[in-house]
Structure formats: structure tokens, C-alpha cells
């Protein structure tokens, strides 16, 4: 065992930065960005060292990656066996997530130095970024499900703070509220799941929970409810929390609105890290899912599959570039969920798990790149609407190249990273569930189409009239772009199956050409359609959209889900539940309270005459009382 104590600093440095910048940020002004970035840089380097030490030096014991407790302390002792700890758990997925989070966060920090340069509350922004990074790191290294829940909520709070960063903008405020309330609602499910799970297994601890030979997995299988075992129910509830955070259908509505936040935030939180927390959560409990609740895993798979299709369709119709990316994110997370959903436990059967984690890793890189690129575009033309863009390749050469790389990656073009990860998900799906496989194949085509629709609209097409000539972003913004582009290209060559697998035992994954070739063909086909439709300005898109006007309108309005939720909440819940409850509160509960106070008030006013300040009245009461007492004592007691 090696000493991994320094991993504590990976978590504590961002926390320290948050406290420093949050409390004293106004003193540092522009320096606060550099401070935050430096802190994160150190955390990044430490994470890389951790990854190196874990994967190559100490982690692999007898061919298996053992989970290690780098640090642990009992925080709340509930019963003899049930206690909540605070600690650091190192295992393949948490170490991988450490690397992903710190890398993306570090890049976003650098990028923000340029992007947020002239904003009010520069220090506040960096303080929140640090808080977010801290919470996210705390989430992934959690040793037990309750610690995870705590950081899960912290992540939600920091997401809320960052979406609402432009708090003077009403749309940002409502978006932040929406994000918070929707994820909070989902977290309710998570909490119920935790309670059920811990009640049945008598432990919070991940290591004992996921020990497939341990008592925890066995003991939940007994009791059943509505045909599913209690274990399955609790895991479905847990997944509900994960679905809320990961914007899975039907809890996805907050993610597109969350794009109101600054673009670096979207890149960090709503593309690369926080939204994959749901995937991470399922992956974390994967042995439990796979062994004692396969139905729960099926739910995960179908939800992921439907979400990815649903989001991809909507993404084809949106004009706000950040929204397109948001739906794309949702779609890609759907892929990851599918990967988990079609996986089994152990060895080659666990291909889906490995692929899902792999895709999470590559997706973090290229989606962060896409968002940061979008940020650079927005920075240059000061709009989010792609109808007001076009022909930008001449003005933003670096952004153009990096963005193209990211688009090619997400489209699954061979030799780029997502090709490998997506292909493995498809392979796993093909072997387990043909329906999901074909849907995902179709989604792969859609993905290529909408990404290149975006790409051609923005960088080619007809050039609109710009108020001022767009210019390339400063170096602080382009360096992260270039770095992430390199990552996007080469991340696929990491032999992931050697490191991150469902049972922590490395295996060899092979590429199945029978699946790789169709997926590439579908991707290329999508790109071709986008090329025809959007390379030059044509009337073709309009004609198609009018041709399918009903369906198009439906998708354009995101299948009216926002309206549906509004209808349900406003028209049904508010009117038929909240109003009567409010009436009850106002009239019965408050009425009782007001009644008590009114009676007290009335009585006080009536009896305040006793305290009149009239000396003689007091004396009269005193004398008559004395006489009365004397009477009573003389004639009732004496004798």
C-alpha cells in the first residue's frame, strides 16, 4: 500500500480557493483568476500523479485493481455498523473521474481568465468555480453513498449559483431556479433510494456495498413489492436522482435552460462533469445493479436510449448554438446510460460498463471543447443564434480547426477518440439488445447531422452583416481549445479496458468491424446531408421543415415538454393541491394563531385597567384584599 494522503489536497485546494476568493475576492480583483487557476493547476498535477501511481504502481494487485481508502474518518456514528464517513476512495472510476474533472476544470479556469475578463464579479465567478470543483471532486472520491449525497447536493448548489451568475437577468434567475428545483426533486428519489438501500443492506459504504461476495448484495434480494425486489426499487430510486442530475428524460428540462450561465460554466458543469454524475452514480453501484437488480439496469438502459433519441431529434431543430450542444450532451449521456444498461458484470460481459466509462472520458474532452469553442464564437459575434452567424472560418481560424476536430470526434469518425468509445457501446448493445442497438445507430447518424448542421451554419454558409469584424480570441482562450483538441484526438488510444472495467479485472477489447463500419457509414451519411443542406445557403432546409411542418414544430418546441410540465404544475398541482393547502394554511393554521393573539390582545386591553397608575385604586384593592383575607382566615380557619 502506498501513501495516498496527498489526494486530500486535490479536494482541499479548491475548497481553500473558494474560501479565499469568496471571502476576500474583492481584494484580489484580476489576480483572483490567476489564483484560482494556479490552485486548480496544482490539483490537476496531483490528480495526474494519483492516476499514475494508482494505475501503474500500486493499484494493480494480482491482476485486479483494488479499491483503496486513501483517507477515512467516521463522521456520524448512527449504530454499531451504520455510520457515515468522510473519506477518499480510490478505485479505477474515481481516479479516472479525478483526472477528467481536474483536467476540464483546469482548462475552463484558464479559458475563463480570457472569457470573463470584463465581467462584474470576476472573483465571485472563480470562487463559485472552485466551489463546484471541490464539490464534484468530493462526489467522485466519496467512500460511501451518504458522503456522495452530501456532495451531490453541494454540486447542485454550485450549479445553481453558476447558472444564476448573471443574476440581473430574469431568464438566468428562472433557469437557475428551474435547474435547482428539478434536480432537487430528483434528489428526493435519490434520498429515498439511499434510505431503502441502507435499511436493507445495513451499510452506506461503497466497498462493502459493491462487494459481490459480501453480505450486502445478498440481503436485499428477499422482500419484494409490486413484483420487483426492494433492492430493485431502491436502485431505481437512486437512478431517479442520477437521471435528474444527468438530465435524462423526463427530468431533462432544466439542462437547456441552464445554458443561461456563462459558457465556461456550461462547458465545465453542464457538459463535462456534473451531468455525468448520474452515470458515475450508476457505475459506482454497478455491481449491485448488475447482480441484484437487473431490471433496474434495464430501466437505466431504456431511459438512456430514449433520452438520446429524443434529445438528438430536438437538437436538429434548435438555432441557439448552446442549446444544440445542450441537447447533444443529453444525447451523449443517454449513450453512456445505454452502455451501462446493456452491460453485465465481469470480464468481457462488462464491455458496456467499460465503454460507458470510456465514452464519459472522451465525451468530457470533446464536449468541453465544443462548448469552449462555442464560447469563443459567442465571444466574437456576441450572439447565440446561429442564424446570425456564418462564414466565420476566415475570422476564427484556431476556433474553426478545433471545433471541426470536436465535430468529427462526436460524429464518430475513425481514429478520433469517440469513434472507439461509441463503437464499443454499440457493440455491447448489439450483443444484448438489438432494439437499443438500432436506435443508437440511428442516433449516431442524427448526432453527425446536427453537429455538422451547426458547424456548416456557423463556419461556412452565407456571411451575415457583422457590426464589427469578428476577431480570434486571446491566447488564454485558444490554448485550452488546442489542448482539448489534442485530448479529443488521442484520448481514444488509451487502452481503457486495461484500466476501468466492471470487476476491476483488465481484459482485451476487440473492435468488431461488423459494427464499426455501419456506424461510420451512418455518421458520414449524416455529415453528407448536413453538407448538402447547410454548406451554402439554400432553401432546402426550409422546404424540408415546411414539408414535415407538424413534426418539425413539435420537435422545435422540444415536444412541448416545458409546456406540459408547466401545465401539470400550474394548472393541476398549484390549483388543486397547493391552493387548498395554502388556503388551509392561511385560514385555519394562521387563523388559529391569529385568533390566539387576538384573544390575548383583547383580554390584555380589558384587564390593563388594573394597571391604571391610580394610587388609590391600588390602595383600594390592597385594603379590600386584606379585609377579605382577614375575614376568610378568621371565620374559615380559626375556631
Amino acid at each position: 500500500m502506498s501513501n495516498f494522503n496527498y489526494t486530500l489536497f486535490i479536494v482541499l485546494i479548491p475548497l481553500a480557493m473558494f474560501l479565499l476568493l469568496g471571502l476576500q475576492g474583492h481584494k484580489f480583483k484580476k489576480l483572483s483568476g490567476i489564483l484560482g487557476t494556479t490552485g486548480l493547476g496544482i490539483a490537476w498535477i496531483l490528480s495526474l500523479i494519483t492516476a499514475y501511481q494508482y494505475f501503474f504502481v500500486y493499484g494493480n494487485v494480482g491482476g485486479v485493481f483494488k479499491p483503496m481508502l486513501a483517507y477515512n474518518s467516521v463522521w456520524l456514528q448512527m449504530t454499531e455498523t451504520l455510520h457515515i464517513d468522510m473519506g477518499i476512495l480510490l478505485d479505477p472510476i474515481s481516479v479516472m473521474m479525478l483526472v477528467v474533472i481536474t483536467t476540464v476544470s483546469f482548462m475552463v479556469h484558464i479559458y475563463s481568465n480570457g472569457y470573463m475578463k470584463d465581467e462584474q464579479g470576476f472573483a465571485r465567478f472563480f470562487a463559485f468555480l472552485s466551489l463546484f470543483t471541490f464539490s464534484m471532486l468530493g462526489l467522485v472520491i466519496a467512500t460511501n453513498i451518504f458522503q456522495m449525497y452530501i456532495f451531490w447536493e453541494l454540486v447542485g448548489v454550485s450549479s445553481y449559483l453558476l447558472i444564476g451568475y448573471y443574476y440581473q437577468k430574469p431568464s438566468a434567475v428562472s433557469a437557475s431556479k428551474k435547474a435547482f428545483i428539478v434536480t432537487r426533486f430528483a434528489d428526493l428519489g435519490f434520498l429515498i433510494g439511499i434510505l431503502l438501500l441502507s435499511f436493507n443492506t445495513k451499510t452506506f459504504d461503497f466497498i462493502s456495498l459493491t462487494d459481490i461476495h459480501g453480505p450486502a448484495i445478498a440481503c436485499g434480494a428477499g422482500a419484494s413489492f409490486l413484483g420487483l425486489s426492494v433492492m430493485t426499487w431502491s436502485l431505481i430510486f437512486v437512478f431517479m436522482g442520477g437521471a435528474g442530475k444527468s438530465a435524462m428524460f423526463p427530468l431533462h428540462i432544466w439542462l437547456p435552460d441552464a445554458m443561461e450561465g456563462p459558457t465556461p460554466v456550461s462547458a465545465l458543469i453542464h457538459a463535462a462533469t456534473m451531468v455525468v454524475a448520474g452515470v458515475y452514480l450508476v457505475a459506482r453501484l454497478f455491481p449491485v445493479y448488475a447482480i441484484s437488480a437487473p431490471q433496474g439496469l434495464e430501466v437505466v438502459g431504456y431511459v438512456g436510449c430514449f433520452s438520446s433519441l429524443f434529445a438528438a431529434v430536438i437538437a436538429c431543430t434548435q438555432y441557439d448554438i448552446k442549446r444544440v450542444l445542450a441537447y447533444s450532451t443529453m444525447s451523449q449521456i443517454g449513450y453512456m446510460m445505454v452502455g451501462l444498461g446493456v452491460s453485465h458484470y465481469g470480464g468481457e460481459e462488462g464491455l458496456g460498463f467499460m465503454a460507458s466509462m470510456f465514452h464519459l472520458f472522451t465525451h468530457a474532452m470533446f464536449k468541453a471543447l465544443l462548448f469552449l469553442g462555442a464560447g469563443a464564437i459567442i465571444h466574437a459575434v456576441h450572439t447565440n443564434e446561429m442564424t446570425e452567424m456564418g462564414g466565420l472560418r476566415k475570422y476564427l481560424p484556431i476556433t474553426h480547426i478545433t471545433f471541426l476536430i470536436a465535430c468529427l470526434t462526436i460524429a464518430g469518425i475513425p481514429l478520433l477518440s469517440a469513434f472507439f468509445s461509441k463503437d464499443e457501446i454499440l457493440t455491447a448493445a448489439f450483443h444484448n439488445n438489438k432494439l437499443i442497438f438500432f436506435v443508437q445507430l440511428f442516433v449516431a447518424g442524427l448526432t453527425a447531422f446536427y453537429m455538422f448542421r451547426l458547424y456548416f451554419r456557423v463556419f461556412w454558409n452565407k456571411e451575415p452583416h457583422y457590426h464589427h469584424t469578428p476577431h480570434e480570441s486571446p491566447l488564454t482562450m485558444t490554448i485550452p481549445l488546442m489542448f482539448l483538441a489534442v485530448c479529443s484526438i488521442f484520448a481514444g488510444y488509451i487502452p481503457f479496458s486495461q484500466f476501468v472495467t466492471s470487476d476491476s479485472k483488465p481484459f482485451e477489447s476487440v473492435m468488431e468491424m461488423g459494427i464499426a463500419i455501419p456506424s461510420v457509414v451512418v455518421g458520414l451519411f449524416g455529415i453528407l446531408i448536413a453538407f448538402v443542406m447547410y454548406k451554402k445557403e439554400t432553401t432546402l432546409p426550409d422546404r424540408i421543415s415546411t414539408g414535415f411542418s407538424f413534426f418539425y414544430k413539435w420537435a422545435f418546441h422540444k415536444f412541448y415538454f416545458d409546456e406540459l410540465y408547466l401545465f401539470v404544475t400550474k394548472k393541476i398541482i398549484f390549483r388543486f393541491i397547493s391552493r387548498p393547502v395554502a388556503w388551509f394554511d392561511r385560514h385555519i393554521v394562521d387563523g388559529t394563531m391569529n385568533g390566539i393573539s387576538a384573544v390575548t390582545n383583547y383580554v390584555s386591553f380589558q384587564i390593563r385597567g388594573f394597571q391604571s397608575g391610580q394610587l388609590q385604586q391600588y390602595a383600594y384593592v390592597f385594603v379590600s384584599g386584606l379585609v377579605g383575607l382577614a375575614l376568610v382566615i378568621l371565620y374559615a380557619f380559626v375556631k
Binding site: V623, V627, A630
Partner: protein, 169 residues
């Protein structure tokens, strides 16, 4: 009826009648004068009981001192010719009721109780005896209360000056 008895009934009648007048008279100066009569009659009772020194003190201090003080303050704060408003009948009745019930109660209790008269020989009440007792610090001496009362009087004197003094604006 012996002379003493007669004197007692006389003084008693004077005290009761003038007390009632003192608390009911609607002219303030008259009330003060009625009070004076009550105090003089009380000193008469003291004379009757052979406490000459006490009677003299009662006359000089009460009748001569306090009543004069009261009359001065009346002159300072009231118009002589002014008559008080009549008391509200309700207030008057209830107060009288309380007083009468209390008095009857006390009297009944007094009449019930059988006092045993002491039959020791009356102490000599020469002025020298009183003076020595006042200044003695032996078993039956009163030097401590005497000193205390002198300090009280001094304090009262200073306090009344301070309280009654006009505050300079």
C-alpha cells in the same frame, strides 16, 4: 361616671368626629384645622394616661410642626377658597364599605379577646429617666434607635431640600 371616664369619652368623641370631618371636608384648610383638633385630642389622651412627655412632644411636633408644614404647603399649592369636587358616590360607598367592614371585623376580634392587665407598679416617668433611657446603651437603653432616627431626620431634611429645589433650566 368618673372624671377620667368623662375625659376619655370627650376626647374619643372629639377624635372620631373631627377625624371624619378631616377626611370629608371639601375645603382643604378646614380639613387641616380639623386634623389639628384630632391631634390635640390625642395628646389629651396621652396626658390622661400620664405620659406627659409624650403628650408634649405630640403637641409640639405634630400640632406645632407637621400641621404648620401642611398648612404652608396648602398655601403654596392651592387656592384657599377652592372647594373640592364631590367624590363619586360609587367610590365613596365602596371605600366606606371596605373601611366599615374592616373596622367591624377588628372591633369584634378585640371584644373577643381577653387582655390580661399587667399589675406591676407603673414606672417613674421623670424626664431624667426618659433622657437616660434614650441615651443608655445598656439592656433597656435606646441609644441605637435614637441615633438611627437622628440620621433619618438628617437624611429627610437633605432629601426634601433636594427634591423641592427648582431645577435650573
Amino acid at each position: 361616671m368618673s372624671g377620667n371616664q368623662f375625659m376619655f369619652y370627650l376626647f374619643g368623641a372629639v377624635i372620631v368626629i373631627f377625624s371624619i370631618l378631616a377626611v370629608t371636608s371639601r375645603k382643604i384648610l378646614r380639613a387641616a384645622v380639623f386634623l389639628l383638633f384630632v391631634l390635640i385630642a390625642t395628646s389629651g389622651l396621652y396626658f390622661m394616661l400620664n405620659y406627659q412627655f409624650l403628650a408634649a412632644v405630640q403637641l409640639t411636633l405634630y400640632a406645632g410642626g407637621i400641621v404648620v408644614l401642611i398648612i404652608f404647603s396648602i398655601l403654596l399649592t392651592s387656592h384657599i377658597s377652592e372647594k373640592f369636587e364631590p367624590i363619586k358616590p360609587q367610590k365613596s360607598i365602596f371605600s366606606a364599605l371596605a373601611a366599615i367592614i374592616g373596622a367591624v371585623l377588628c372591633i369584634i376580634t378585640l371584644l373577643d379577646y381577653n387582655f390580661k392587665a399587667g399589675n406591676a407598679i407603673a414606672a417613674d416617668l421623670d424626664m431624667t429617666v426618659i433622657g437616660k433611657a434614650l441615651l443608655s446603651y445598656k439592656y433597656d437603653g435606646y441609644i441605637l434607635p435614637f441615633e438611627v432616627i437622628s440620621i433619618l431626620l438628617l437624611a429627610a431634611m437633605i432629601a426634601s431640600i433636594v427634591i423641592a429645589k427648582k431645577i435650573k433650566k
